[in-house]
Symmetry: C2
Subunit: 198 residues, 2 copies
């Protein structure tokens, strides 16, 4: 609709997830009026990601070097490993400040319909860590949805015969600050079956 | 929160208007998994806009060459000029397919509190067009808000003594598909005062 480079930029921005035509237009006109140095920083950041982001050789999280900060940190307990689907799940767990162990990023969840089988996830690497480190507990922190549950079930079956290993799963239940009335049946059911004595 | 280039990209994306931290993260991980050629097209589009976008010498709209397609088109009536604030307003009016004249893009609206006076808008260029072309009608299509109304009032005062010129303003009233009950008082008041015999 616009002529020349402005429309190209709107088109490219509109291809990004969650950016509709109106937002793309708004961002494009913002950049049109922006300081070239600001655009430069965005371009540099894109180039670096395009050049390739490193992933930690141990846990699979995004990293600045071959090993990520968490896996390098001697204060983090190497015997407890929290298994998550994506790097953003590591950030979510870190924000709680409750977890002092290490992570293992699978790189997704089992989804046979999309052709994602166990070989597409970093499960082999997890087993290699089991052999190398003295892991005492594996916390399965995959998403509480169909794919995440299937992945957890698969890992439980694979890990349950390891001697001296405890496998745990994040608790399901009502979200804090939520309202019982608005909880879905599945969540409420889980909250009931997981009830604790106080 | 993330290490290295991923966090830089999230930070830069988060500076764009309408992109919150969650969206920035989502876009960054999308780009991380994207085809390098896709990132390349976005980079190219940014570079072109950074290199500078041309504006039509006549109307001030974004253009591919010195003169935009509309000002070059001999089928467009040069005697009727629709005055708008921004290039996106040209796109909005063009979408109606109702208008066969030409445009004049002011580049904003009067806003003395933000230091935007008449000298910051392309008003001088509009007067130059008045002298050069045989303009018969000027349609004031600035936004129906305080700044847009002030700009329209200013232009009406400046243009009303031009011989043989009609100055018009877009009609205010209820939006189509709207609900009378939910119209604000100002809009409903305008719709009332602008009522037409049927």
């Amino acid at each position: 609709m616009y002529e020349g480079p402005v429309q190209d930029l709107i088109d490219e921005l509109g291809r990004l997830p969650g950016v509709g035509p109106k937002s793309a237009q708004r961002i494009a006109f913002h950049l049109l009026a922006a300081d070239p140095a600001d655009i430069g920083r965005l371009q540099d950041a894109l180039q670096k990601v395009r050049d390739g982001v490193q992933f930690c050789q141990i846990c699979g999280n995004v990293a600045e070097e071959q090993t990520c900060r968490i896996c390098k940190d001697p204060r983090r307990d190497a015997t407890v490993v929290c298994v998550v689907e994506e790097p953003k799940d590591v950030v979510a767990v870190e924000k709680t400040r409750e977890f002092k162990g290490r992570y293992h990023v699978l790189g997704g969840a089992l989804d046979p319909l999309s052709g994602i089988g166990p070989d597409k996830l970093r499960i082999r690497e997890l087993l290699a860590r089991m052999g190398a480190d003295d892991i005492k507990e594996i916390i399965l922190a995959t998403d509480p949805n169909t794919e995440g549950e299937a992945t957890a079930t698969y890992l439980i079956r694979m890990l349950r015969d390891f001697p001296g290993l405890t496998v745990t799963r994040l608790a399901s239940g009502l979200p804090m600050g939520g309202d019982l009335e608005f909880a879905d049946e599945l969540t409420l059911g889980r909250a009931l079956s997981g009830r604790r004595t106080v």
